[in-house]
């Protein structure tokens, strides 16, 4: 297992290197740069100004040499300066990352907890009214556009009832205020993702409940709770773990639509703005962070398979 982990880590490192160049090249190959946009907004900007600013920001250099320079500095721990936020990259990234981890983490944990419960209930009572109701909820969750759901929640709870703020993050020094600002975006993301998770859990649980060892456990007189929690759920977690691992990257890549609707400064909006605004340093750092999280989450999931199912070995 140690050898397997080491090989996977090496693969991740190589993949990250390739990915960094691919991201840099893709952003660089998009037409236009920040100075071109500035030129279109400022009728006084001359050709000399454009040339001077491009040189000052290194935009007059070939793409490969710009990438090599970035990679050299990044390996030394210097992620550079964000042009859009006028701060070092880490200073722009860190508060957004914390916001996204809070938002995505909370909605992820809540959605998962509810999905495990609902999926298990639905799997135990197939084709019942309860199953039909849970399925209806799942399809509603999967089908509802996030922006629509966000808007409905804002209009209901912020505009109509006035119970919760319509957006922002609130006063960072006041935990209660911070929590109030999180309720609607967390609810939006949770409701939007719960349907998919519940369907996966239901499918996996139905498969697990039909296994021979479950019948044997019941025949041996194990309680239904023990059968579900100890025998069925563990087996059902293997496909669910794969889905969860794939979702993990989202914790740091944020949720663009929800963040935009709630004016919530998170990673999704930051990545979008950085890519559209040609903020290479920021876009690269944010996308690499999302990539490395997703890759590590997948590695952890692969290692977890062995724990969940002892028949799996790492050769």
């Amino acid at each position: 297992m140690i050898r397997y982990t080491a090989i996977r880590l090496l693969e991740i490192a190589a993949l990250l290197l390739l990915l960094s160049f691919a991201i840099y090249a893709l952003i660089g190959l998009m037409p236009g740069d920040p100075i071109d946009l500035m030129r279109s907004a400022d009728p006084h900007m001359s050709a000399a100004d454009v040339a001077r600013l491009k040189a000052a920001q290194g935009l007059d250099q070939p793409l490969v040499s710009r990438y090599a320079d970035w990679a050299r500095r990044a390996l030394a721990g210097d992620l550079g300066y964000s042009r859009l936020f006028a701060t070092p990259v880490w200073a722009a990234l860190l508060p957004r990352l914390v916001n996204s981890l809070l938002l995505m983490g909370l909605s992820f944990v809540l959605a998962l907890a509810l999905a495990l419960g609902l999926g298990t209930v639905a799997a135990r009572l197939p084709r019942s009214r309860t199953d039909a109701a849970i399925n209806l909820l799942c399809f509603a969750s999967v089908s509802m556009p996030t922006f629509w759901l966000a808007l409905v929640l804002i209009l209901l709870f912020a505009v109509g009832l006035g119970w919760l703020p319509a957006g922002g993050t609130g006063d960072s020094g006041d935990l209660a205020d911070r929590a109030r600002h999180l309720v609607l975006p967390v609810a939006t993301l949770m409701l939007a993702s719960i349907g998919g998770y519940t369907r996966y859990v239901r499918g996996a649980m139905r498969e697990a409940l039909s296994q021979d060892h479950i019948r044997t456990a019941r025949a041996k007189g194990a309680s239904e709770t023990r059968v579900i929690l100890h025998h069925a759920l563990r087996g059902a977690m293997i496909p669910v773990t794969t889905i969860l691992a794939l979702s993990f990257g989202g914790l740091v890549s944020g949720a663009l639509v929800t963040e935009t609707m709630f004016a919530y400064p998170g990673m999704g909006k930051l990545i979008f703005d950085a890519v559209m605004g040609n903020d290479y340093n920021l876009a690269l750092a944010a996308l690499m962070l999302a990539s490395v999280t997703a890759m590590l989450a997948n590695l952890v999931a692969d290692l977890a398979y062995g724990w969940l199912d002892p028949r799996i070995s790492y050769q």
Partner: protein, 548 residues
């Protein structure tokens, strides 16, 4: 999304904001930096309008006025003196006096050391400042005292007294950040320490910044002008206009800035639903919506076709149906509010019959599918581009497409993100027709957009702004004279000549002058939109809480 908001918000009453000590303003943009010289942005101008005093600005009457100086220099008052700097070339020396009570918000007086530092930063090519045109024109500055200085300009232009691009930087705070000029963009305290009181000299100072989200301002305790009307001002950036509307209705924000808020069609929808609960101000300005025509394109090089395109659209009907008549139709690039505006130019009212005749004369006959063909079988078809995601322009494109189809012109809509359209497509003239807006200034000489040597090409790194490839020696000559004509009447005649040339040559199709909509709480008074590039916030001390 706005439609969704309309459906769900119908009948929902806004939650009234009770605390008038704090004013919360909603905008759709957040400034990338607060340094006045770096990255010109409307969002930055809006915030700095409360926190910085430029020397000069244009007020709501479109007249230049002093904010940081005591008297606006003029040749008549002796503060401006034309000088001969070379045979046939005139420059001008202008003396300004800084207001004696002007102070940075840390208590340091604003003085000529700040002037010299700002000049030093502006002139340094490594400093990363945007437009350096003003700094290139200033040949030197003489300091007369702590508060008085004389600027020497290498060119005598009619707008000599306006030094609005020369916004002071505090030497006592910023000098260490300028130790390495190439690092100034990164090291400027406006980026590293934006809540430092010494960076601001207006009625307010920035007290908190949540990047990408909101900026809080509190009164500058060293401000000696009219008292600031609020104890706290919060500027919140909410990019999505449906969310902006919801925030307004929920009372999370008190008002939406006209400069960076709803587009006019969105605002009109909002006003229909909730207008009675707010104070609404519509202000047409000098943002010129138009369609650039690529004169490199052989079909568009034909003036008959350009005129036919102009006559084929009904801008009055569009203004009535889409904008309830609140967006004035443009006949040239000069706003009717501008001193240089003239009525005496060709006007193009909708006339599809005349448009058809012009196209017939040019050899384009209606084909079997209603689209015109020439004798070689070529279809009269153009690509129309605009900035993708701009709801109003995308709506307008569809109306124009159907109107042009009536005269047998086929329009293919092909929109692009702003960075692609402005960064690549337009400078390289890879377009037929492109709809966008110029953001101009009062009496802004159109050198960058109409002068023949401003055409983007490989020689200038594709950095001119005359994207249409418009070349007319008469226009070049008028622009040259316009810049240096001091006599108001003679200048008005030159402005008229420039507008006539434009309206005759039609390098672009004028559409509208954009109207900004200010949505304000009923308890707020004194907000006076200028219609020019100077934001209402420059006059924040005139804003008042109206007692019921």
């Amino acid at each position: 999304m706005s439609v969704m908001a309309a459906v769900f918000a119908a009948g929902v009453a806004p939650v009234a904001a009770q605390d008038h000590d704090t004013l919360t303003i909603g905008t759709i943009q957040f400034p990338s930096t607060l340094n006045p010289g770096i990255d010109p942005m409307a969002a930055k101008s809006y915030v700095l309008g409360m926190a910085m005093r430029p020397f000069t600005v244009y007020d709501a009457a479109w007249k230049p006025v002093c904010l940081l100086c005591t008297d606006l220099p003029s040749i008549a008052n002796g503060l401006a003196n034309p000088v001969d700097i070379a045979p046939g070339k005139k420059g001008i020396d202008i003396t300004y006096a800084i207001r004696p009570d002007a102070s940075w918000a840390d208590g340091s007086p604003v003085n000529t050391s700040d002037v010299m530092f700002t000049y030093e930063v502006g002139r340094n090519p490594k400093s990363g400042l945007g437009s350096a045109e003003m700094y290139r024109r200033i040949t030197s500055i003489d300091v007369k005292s702590d508060k008085i200085f004389t600027m020497h300009f290498d060119k005598l232009t009619f707008d000599y007294a306006s030094i609005d691009d020369f916004v002071l930087l505090p030497a006592h705070i910023e000098r260490p950040a300028f130790a390495d000029p190439a690092q100034y963009r990164v090291q400027t305290r406006y980026a590293t320490d934006p809540t430092n009181a010494g960076l601001y000299n207006g009625p307010y100072r920035v007290s908190a910044v949540t990047r990408g989200s909101q900026i809080t301002l509190v009164p500058n305790t060293y401000w000696n002008g009219s008292p600031p009307p609020f104890k706290r001002i919060v500027v919140k950036a909410i990019e999505n206009t449906a969310a902006l509307e919801a925030n307004l209705l929920s009372g999370a924000i008190d008002m939406v800035a006209g400069e960076m808020g709803f587009s006019l069609d969105e605002a009109l929808g909002f006003v229909k639903r909730h207008g009675d609960q707010f104070q609404i101000i519509y202000k047409p300005g000098l943002t010129f919506e138009h369609i650039d025509l690529n004169l490199d394109q052989p079909l568009l090089a034909d003036r008959h076709i350009r005129e036919a395109l102009m006559l084929g659209i009904d801008r009055d009907a569009i203004s009535r149906s889409l904008f309830e008549g609140k967006q004035p139709v443009a006949d040239s690039f000069v706003s009717p509010l501008d001193a240089g505006y003239t009525e005496d130019i060709p006007h193009y009212h909708s006339d599809p019959d005349r448009a058809g005749q012009l196209l017939e004369t040019a050899g384009w006959h209606v084909g079997p599918d209603g689209i015109r063909l020439n004798d070689a079988g070529q279809r009269l078809s153009f690509e129309l581009m605009t900035t993708a995601g701009n709801h109003t322009r995308e709506l307008l494109e569809q109306v124009l497409q159907s109107q042009w189809r009536r005269i047998g012109v086929d329009i293919r809509i092909k929109n692009q993100p702003a960075r692609v359209l402005f960064g690549d497509t337009m400078p390289h003239r890879q377009f037929d027709m492109a709809m966008y807006a110029y953001i101009s200034a009062p009496e802004n000489v159109p050198r960058s957009i109409f002068y023949s040597n401003e055409i983007p090409n490989a020689g200038n790194g594709f950095s001119g702004q005359n994207d249409t490839d418009y070349k007319n020696p008469e226009m070049d000559a008028v622009i040259d004279k316009l810049e240096v004509e001091l006599d108001g009447d003679k200048r008005k005649a030159l402005w008229a000549a420039a507008q006539k040339l434009y309206a005759t040559d039609l390098p672009s199709l004028p559409l509208f002058f954009r109207t900004d909509t200010y949505i304000l709480p009923k308890w707020l008074s004194g907000v006076k939109p200028t219609g020019n590039q100077y934001p209402t916030t420059l006059w924040i001390t005139d804003w008042k809480v109206q007692q019921p």
